[in-house]
Symmetry: D3
Subunit: 74 residues, 6 copies
Amino acid sequence: MPYVNIKITREGASTEQKRQLIEGVTQLLNDVLGKNPRTTCVVIDEVDTDNWGIAGVPVTELRKHPPSWLESGD
Amino acid sequence: MPYVNIKITREGASTEQKRQLIEGVTQLLNDVLGKNPRTTCVVIDEVDTDNWGIAGVPVTELRKHPPSWLESGD
Amino acid sequence: MPYVNIKITREGASTEQKRQLIEGVTQLLNDVLGKNPRTTCVVIDEVDTDNWGIAGVPVTELRKHPPSWLESGD
Amino acid sequence: MPYVNIKITREGASTEQKRQLIEGVTQLLNDVLGKNPRTTCVVIDEVDTDNWGIAGVPVTELRKHPPSWLESGD
Amino acid sequence: MPYVNIKITREGASTEQKRQLIEGVTQLLNDVLGKNPRTTCVVIDEVDTDNWGIAGVPVTELRKHPPSWLESGD
Amino acid sequence: MPYVNIKITREGASTEQKRQLIEGVTQLLNDVLGKNPRTTCVVIDEVDTDNWGIAGVPVTELRKHPPSWLESGD
């Protein structure tokens, strides 16, 4: 009966990509722990970049001026 | 000082229905555990059906092709 | 497919009281929104009173010196 | 590697105010526990006042008829 | 900068199994959305079976008397 | 009526440090948004290092072999 919550920034994830996340994490819980997919629940939250911060700075600002320690693809 | 988070799919819950959820769960915590309603906080999250998955499939697809194991009314 | 998370302070809720919370909130979601109990998931978190604060003060301290604005039974 | 989730009612917090929350809570975790800002993640959720309840009543209604026990500024 | 929270019942997941969950979901977010593993954070919560309910019944009871609609392996 | 959830690894935060987090974040919400401390609720979750992962690796392993990109104090 697992419950999984995935939070990502709202930056254009497609319906197909979200479907792949749901399918993939449900499969992972079945593979690793034998959890029943029928009782595995996945919720994806997409969060505005103004509302997500790392290193004390909103992601909106990090996207404009990416610091060197933060690699691309994050 | 309970905190309750209710997550449902965004499929048209009305303001009145959400009021009933808030009232009902606050009453339940008072009835069962004697919790003070004034410090009971309820937050309802409505989640897009593309962003909610069960059995590895987004709810958007389950609504179109409901599997037999999933009863109506869910 | 609702998911409900109930957070309460760890102050001796019994197994029977927790059963009543699970049963009651599942029934509430069925009554108000017609949600299927079989896909309704409830998780109760019991939190140490040192780790829960209200009005900027840990509940451990509020229990020793309850402020007048905070009624009994909370 | 702290993760902080701040939930507030959606009542007009500005981008600058949200930036201050992100900066302030990241600094707090550094001051109190020595946590590295680069691995401190903050997510702010803004919740509709119909979807937030206290004392069993949605905030939308509390705003119209504020009870005496609830001070202004909340 | 994804954040993933996995909730499972506390029924003996090993350190190695939890490592596989952390590795697998981080890889999934990299594969599907190109998310940087260095800023992907995973938190696993293990919940007592008395504190987790489905179909209005605590998992502790479901384990003793599994209903026919709930397959094994969940 | 803010609700704040702070998740940290369980690595010896003291009762006094947790009190400072509760006090500090409540003050921050009052300073930035004018939120009433009496309805500000803070919950701190301490998570075992086996159950927290970053970069696809449990914190337990990162503590033994800290990667160069991860600064001390995290």
